[in-house]
């Protein structure tokens, strides 16, 4: 049963990756004409900004204004990566050190707490609730459940079949719903960097008027 589920995880991982690639291909099929305006700045600098300084609360007003949500978001995603890493260890299979397991436990615990907090915020904050669709809630529940089971599994492996089954579900759901942003986040931030970098707007250093 477990072996069967492990293979299931591997297969769903590939299905997820291929589906995401198809999604990207579909976006690329919309095409884009080459740009003709003369660049004023350096695109690569813009991309570095997009993934570095441009995400920091002292640079980004929205992150500063919503600092608890911003931090919760970071912890939630760290927890998810820890959970996925744990699944990888189970699938390989590989017996991790106690130190590593403890580190993963802490990250997953934080992830669950933050995931639940974000879920509650979505329910109770009216504007947020009103821009949400069922997919937003389902994605959150699915990921929280996955993290919860992964955390339990680090203590008692009795939940392992359910954990692996949830992991399969989650991997298959990624391309369908909002969790696809795990990939599109990078795509969008690169485009953000290209835009502001090319126009010499960001990073600020690019645009200093030489005195």
């Amino acid at each position: 049963m477990l072996t069967f589920l492990r293979y299931g995880v591997i297969i769903s991982f590939f299905v997820c990756t291929i589906s995401l690639c198809i999604l990207v291909l579909k976006t690329l099929l919309f095409g884009k004409k080459p740009l003709h305006s003369e660049p004023q700045g350096v695109e690569n600098k813009g991309i570095l900004y997009a993934f570095g300084k441009g995400m920091m609360p002292w640079e980004k007003e929205s992150a500063a204004r919503h600092l608890p949500t911003y931090i919760a978001g970071i912890l939630y995603h760290s927890g998810i990566f820890a959970g996925l890493f744990y699944i990888l260890l189970l699938v390989i299979p590989f017996c991790p050190s106690l130190f590593l397991i403890n580190a993963l436990r802490i990250l997953m615990l934080c992830g669950i707490a933050c995931g639940v907090a974000l879920f509650l915020k979505r329910i109770f904050k009216t504007t947020l609730k009103n821009i949400s669709c069922p997919d937003d809630f389902a994605s959150n529940i699915l990921v929280d459940l996955f993290l919860f089971l992964a955390l339990i599994d680090t203590f008692i492996s009795i939940v392992r079949p359910v954990l692996l089954f949830t992991a399969i579900l989650m991997l298959l759901y990624i391309p369908v719903g909002k969790i696809r942003h795990c990939f599109f986040f990078f795509y969008s931030r690169i485009l953000f960097g290209l835009f502001y970098g090319r126009r010499g707007i960001l990073p600020q250093k690019q645009r200093q008027f030489k005195v």
């Binding site: 999604l23 579909k26 976006t27 690329l28 099929l29 919309f30 884009k32 004409k33 740009l35 003709h36 305006s37 003369e38 004023q40 997009a50 441009g54 980004k60 007003e61 929205s62 204004r65 919503h66 949500t69 911003y70 978001g73 979505r122 904050k125 009216t126 504007t127 947020l128 009103n130 821009i131 949400s132 669709c133 069922p134 997919d135 937003d136 389902a138 369908v176 719903g177 909002k178 696809r180 942003h181 599109f184 986040f185 795509y187 969008s188 931030r189 485009l191 953000f192 960097g193 835009f195 126009r199 010499g200 707007i201 960001l202 600020q204 645009r207 200093q208 008027f209 030489k210 005195v211």
Partner: protein, 458 residues
């Protein structure tokens, strides 16, 4: 939504008369405008709501419809429904919706009526989605079925018909130049001082916002005086001189392309090497960044903002400024299209620091500035005047808290809005362009002027 502010006739009628082929046409154009950047963005919003307070509409109204994510998702819904498998199969689950009468109505009210395309939300979006460009795509679809709010559309139509957005007849334009030239000669006590017109082979072609010719001739005089002091080789064009391009706001790329082409025709006719754009935010974004894309070709000449030119004159010592001539406290409003979307950020500060004795920044500033509320075509769309004035309160408060007596802004669109805010919120400030302030501080050095003039002439 306040009943007074609700979208009224003649739109109601136009919308209710929409046929399914109109909706299909809108969708077709919508699809044509989506490139892979936009398609990626349309797949990315996670409904986190963190963009909320970056928008002056949301800060003012604090309602759902003013939320950038809400406006963005009005477009995303339609994208999903038509171009994604999940949107087609499990619409409600992923929040997909067909483009129907109701959605069209919401698009007009939100994409035109609750957005100045200022781009502040894009900087603050968790994912980096270029929200104003997506919103403009929605506007393009509406433009395709003739649903651009009347004031904005008539500005575009006038520019297409007459070559400038105010429909100024050629004789009036020539007359304006003539009397402004006489004034310049008196001002600098030089009967040879000129506002050159149709001078073939001049280095620079200078464009203006037609409002300058109609209502703000001082802006033209200021630029003329600075060019004179710098001994510049430049010219106006008698036919196409309008820096504005309301196609950027209406979403009509074809019309926008024609308007940009007008300036290219003037450049070709006069064989100039640099197109100098007057102080106009959206005119800069249009002609510097967007026009080559609308026209799908590179320009064969340089395009610069007048601010870059003037800052450079100061830097190399081509003109001299005496800051003590501008003693009042001056603050600066950053036009979104010029700064956050255009990349002209430091030049205006450099000029003002040299031209004024008391320059103070407002907070926030530069790319983080708040929109004045007049962008995105709002000044032309009388349908949304009440909202425009309400959302402008954020800018009014910003100005008030600087204690400034003069507000400089390098954009005539912003000037119009700031003048209204000045009156509405009783700010008691003067509103000027950056060049007007620089011209007030200008110290004419005839020897220098003549040296540069003869150098450039030879």
């Amino acid at each position: 939504m306040n009943n007074k502010e609700a979208v009224k006739d003649p739109f109601e009628e136009k919308i209710s008369n929409l046929k399914s082929e109109d909706l299909r046409k809108a969708l077709q154009i919508f699809k044509e405008k989506i490139n892979y950047d936009y398609a990626a963005f349309l797949n990315t919003c996670v409904h986190c709501g963190l963009c909320a307070e970056s928008c002056h509409y949301h800060l003012t109204y604090k309602d759902l419809k003013s939320l950038p994510a809400y406006k963005l998702n009005l477009v995303i819904k339609v994208f999903k429904k038509n171009f994604s498998q999940t949107g087609k199969r499990i619409s409600r689950w992923v929040g997909a919706e067909e483009l129907n009468h109701h959605v069209v109505k919401e698009w007009i009210d939100s994409l035109f009526g609750r957005c100045t395309l200022c781009g502040r939300c894009a900087l603050n979006c968790t994912m980096g989605i270029n929200i104003p460009y997506i919103i403009r795509t929605g506007r393009s679809a509406l433009a395709a079925i003739d649903l651009v709010p009347p004031g904005l559309q008539s500005t575009v139509d006038t520019a297409l018909r007459s070559g400038n957005n105010m429909g100024i007849p050629k004789e009036d334009w020539l007359e304006t130049i003539e009397w402004l030239e006489e004034e310049l000669q008196q001002d600098v006590s030089d009967s040879k001082a000129r506002l050159p017109l149709d001078e073939k082979g001049a280095g620079m072609l200078y464009t203006i916002n037609p409002r300058e010719a109609m209502f703000f001739p001082l802006s033209i005089s200021a630029a003329g005086k600075i060019f004179y002091a710098a001994g510049e080789s430049w010219t106006f064009s008698s036919d196409y001189y309008d820096v504005t391009n309301y196609g950027l706001y209406s979403g009509d790329d074809e019309a926008a392309g024609i308007m940009s082409e007008h300036l290219i025709m003037s450049m070709k006719k006069l064989r100039c090497h640099t197109l100098v754009l007057a102080e106009c935010g959206h005119g800069f974004n249009s002609n510097r960044w967007e026009a080559p894309e609308w026209l799908s070709r590179k320009y064969g000449f340089e395009v610069k903002s007048i601010l870059q030119i003037v800052a450079d004159y100061i830097r190399v010592g081509r003109i001299d400024l005496d800051p003590s001539r501008n003693k009042k406290i001056v603050t600066l409003h950053d036009p979104c299209n010029l700064v956050r979307l255009g990349g002209i950020v430091e030049e205006q500060r450099y000029i003002l620091k040299h031209a004024t004795a008391n320059f103070v920044e407002m907070t926030p500033n530069r790319e983080k500035n708040y929109c004045c509320g007049g962008g995105g075509g709002q000044l032309a769309m009388t349908l949304f005047t009440e909202r425009r004035l309400k959302v402008g309160k954020i800018k009014a408060d910003q100005i008030r808290s600087t204690g400034a007596k003069v507000v400089a802004t390098p954009c005539h669109n912003c000037i119009d809005q700031l003048m209204e805010l000045n009156k509405h919120y009783k700010l008691g400030v003067e509103i000027k362009t950056v060049c007007e302030i620089a011209a007030d501080a200008l110290v004419i050095n005839k020897k220098k002027t003549n040296t540069f003039h003869s150098l450039l002439s030879s």
